[in-house]
Each structure stands twice: as C-alpha cells, then as structure tokens.
Subunit: 235 residues, 2 copies
C-alpha cells in the first residue's frame, strides 16, 4: 500500500488476537472519519506489523476488521537508537522531545532520575499517548519502548544489554559523535537540566559509557535529545 | 569570561552607540535579577560582539553600562546555515522551529509563502522575540537574520547570493545529505506542510537547488527544519 495514500494510521496492539480497533480508534474511525463497512484502513500493532484491513463491522465502540494483507518489520529502522533522558521541570519540553524523537525514529526511551533532575515522577500514560500520536502521524509501524522513571542505578543495570553506550557531555575527553563507528543498536544518555553530578559521570564511565559531543553548543536537554536522534539516525 | 559562569545574557544591539540596555533588559537586570551598580553582566549585540560590562547606573528603564572587555566574532559558527521554511498552520510549530534552530545554531531564516502554505502572514515581531530568547538562553553572540513572509519568487531571487543551495525533498534524484561536501555558507529549503507544487520544484531546480534527503522518514515541516540544522551544523 502506497504510504502517500494513507490518510490515517490506526494503532491496535492486539489486532492479531481480536481483529478490532480499541475504543478510541473505533470512535475516531467511525464517528470522525466516518468509515463504513468495506472501507479500507491501515493499522499497525506498534511492533513492526503493518496491516491492511477492511472494516467488517463499523461499531463505534469496537470496530471489527478483516485483515487483507500483513507486512512484518515494516520499514524497520537501519539503526535502533535508545535514549536515556531526564524529564524536564517544564513537562512540555520533554513531551516535545517524545513527539519529535518518535517522528525522527527513536526505538526506546529510558526516563531517568538523576541527582539534578527536578520532577519526582512522570505521567507515563500521557507520554505513551504522545508517542502513539507521533507514530501515527509519521506513519511508522514501531512504537518506542518507554520506561517509567528509573533511578540512575537501575538505568545503569538496564544499560548492560547494549554494547555501544554513549553519553552526551561537554568535557575534554569527548569525541565528536560523527567521528566514531556506530553500531546498529546503541544507547545515548543525555544530561539533565542541572548537568550530571561528578559521581554519576564516574559511574557512567565505569559502566563503559563513552563521552561524545553533539557540537559546541549549549543545548537544552530536550534539544540535545532531538539533535542526538537526528544525527544517529542519519549517520 | 567563562561562559559557565554567566547567569544571564543581555541583548543590546546598539550597545556601541548608547552603552545602555533597552527597556526590557534594563527592567530584567535591575528589578528581576536585582543587579546593582558595579555588578558585572554579559551583553551581546547579536552581531558577534561579546561585551563584558559593569553597571554604572542601574536605572530600571535604561540601565547604563561601562564596557570592560569586548570580543568580536565570539564563537562564530564554523558553517553558516540558512533555512528557507514555510510557516505552519499551527503557529506553535514554526515557533518551536525558531527556538530550536537558534539554540542549535542557525544563521538566517527565510519565511516563504508557497502555493500550499496556509498562513497568509507571520508575526515577525513575535518570531524575533523567540529568536532573541533562544540566543540568550544558549549564550550565543549571533542573532539570526529573519525575513518577513516572502513569495516563492522573491525567495528564489534572494537565494542567488548562495553558491550551495539544497532542497529537502523525498524524490528519486535526492542524495543523502551526509554524502555531499558542504560549503561554509549554505541554504537549505524545507518543504511546506502540503509539499511543494510541481511548478515550485521545477523553479527550484532551475535555480540550482540540489535535492537532498534527511533520512527516510516522513517529517513534519518544523521537525525537518530542526533535523536539517542539527545535521548541517555537525557534519
């Protein structure tokens, strides 16, 4: 199906099990977009599945689908980029990061609480909605994994599954990120608004995070996140 | 002066002429930051000038300065990136582009009205305020040039001063932007929300714009703008 002809992408993580849209997408399909029986729609499960479906029952609470065509690993990214980032004091800013990084193509986001992170909790449900909306808008088949707010130590433990770990920080040992060979799966850690503590930097280095720079500019946390994803996605 | 110690950057385009802050910055210095006579502040003229000043008269309407040290071409960018972009229907989105691109390091923005651009006018005064705030926040000495809304033809006329002209567009002839040698001054044109018309694409090619891609993703106008500045700034 030519993606330029898709007017709207639906998200149904359970489509293989229940052949339905959920309540929100059913309402949108039937009441807003006025889809009728027999109409063709495009659905993703957020796990790489790309389903061309016809509507068999346009029920506004649970729209039933008939799967016509399935493509697995649809437009899978050439590099899976995972970002560790601290929520910002102003929630708009981290939400903007979520929207943009999903659009550009992030595979996962770890939300981290450092010594200098202000928010004590995050609204993961809201963040998920923003990510879903970004995925739909950019016609992607992958919904990024997102964690709840992790302590720095929990984040370090989870980071052991990555062989390439980067930390974006302006210091003397930092290497220009464009100058290193990049693996197909990588994790980049972005500093919080109040910077890392010395102890956190030491721990990150002990855990084999390599320091890189994203240029010479002083960037806000959410900007650094978007710049990192932009560059790592294209290099 | 070590930039990490600057708590706030002031903007005074006329500092060489009048040795003063303007009304807004004077109020901020004296009433918000409670600066007193003899206090040291950092000021830029937005043209690369970086002025270390002491306050000689903390007048909240016109704070008088004594220039202690001047650096010209402070942190001048290694590459001057100019972006041609169409305002978005939702003003927040283009304003976000202005904030982020200034922070990352754009040298100029041309606002363009194409056949598929919705807004008929822009609020350049508001855009300038956002750019000034971005410059201050990221401690830069350069305020980007910004045009009022230009017709596509006026934009093409103004583009003749650039020897390297790029257009970000997903088509068959498009070259990956990371694969071409970049000049120290360049202009990149970003497509509007409704894409360029065929006629506009033809005109751009006649005017020696080379088609590049910013990756395989469908990006919103403002995201494409930020991705372009991120990459061109770092390559």
């Amino acid at each position: 199906m030519d993606s330029t002809k898709i007017d709207f992408l639906f998200y149904s993580p359970e489509i293989e099990k229940n052949n339905c849209l959920d309540a929100v997408d059913s309402l949108h399909a039937v009441k807003v977009l006025r889809k009728k029986q027999g109409d063709i729609i495009q659905v993703t499960d957020g796990l790489g599945g790309w389903y061309r479906c016809s509507i068999s029952d346009p029920n506004p609470k649970s729209c039933v689908l008939n799967i016509l065509e399935v493509e697995k690993d649809y437009n899978s990214p050439k590099r899976r980029i995972f970002v560790g980032i601290c929520p910002t004091k102003n929630a708009d800013r981290i939400e903007y990061f979520i929207e943009k990084s999903v659009e550009i193509g992030v595979s996962g986001i770890f939300f981290i609480k450092t010594q200098h992170t202000y928010p004590k909790k995050i609204n993961l449900e809201r963040f998920r909605k923003i990510a879903i909306s970004g995925m739909k808008q950019s016609l992607k088949a992958y919904l990024p994994e997102m964690t709840d707010l992790l302590s720095f130590n929990s984040f370090l433990k989870q980071s052991t599954r990555f062989t390439q770990k980067l930390i974006a920080h302006l210091d003397e040992q930092a290497i220009d990120v464009t100058k290193i060979p990049l693996e197909s799966d990588l994790l980049i850690l972005i500093g919080p608004e109040g910077d890392f503590s010395k102890e956190e930097l030491k721990l990150a280095h002990e855990n084999k995070f390599k320091t890189v720079t994203l240029g010479e500019n002083r960037l806000r946390t959410e900007t650094a996140g978007v710049v990192a994803v932009s560059i790592l996605n294209l290099l």
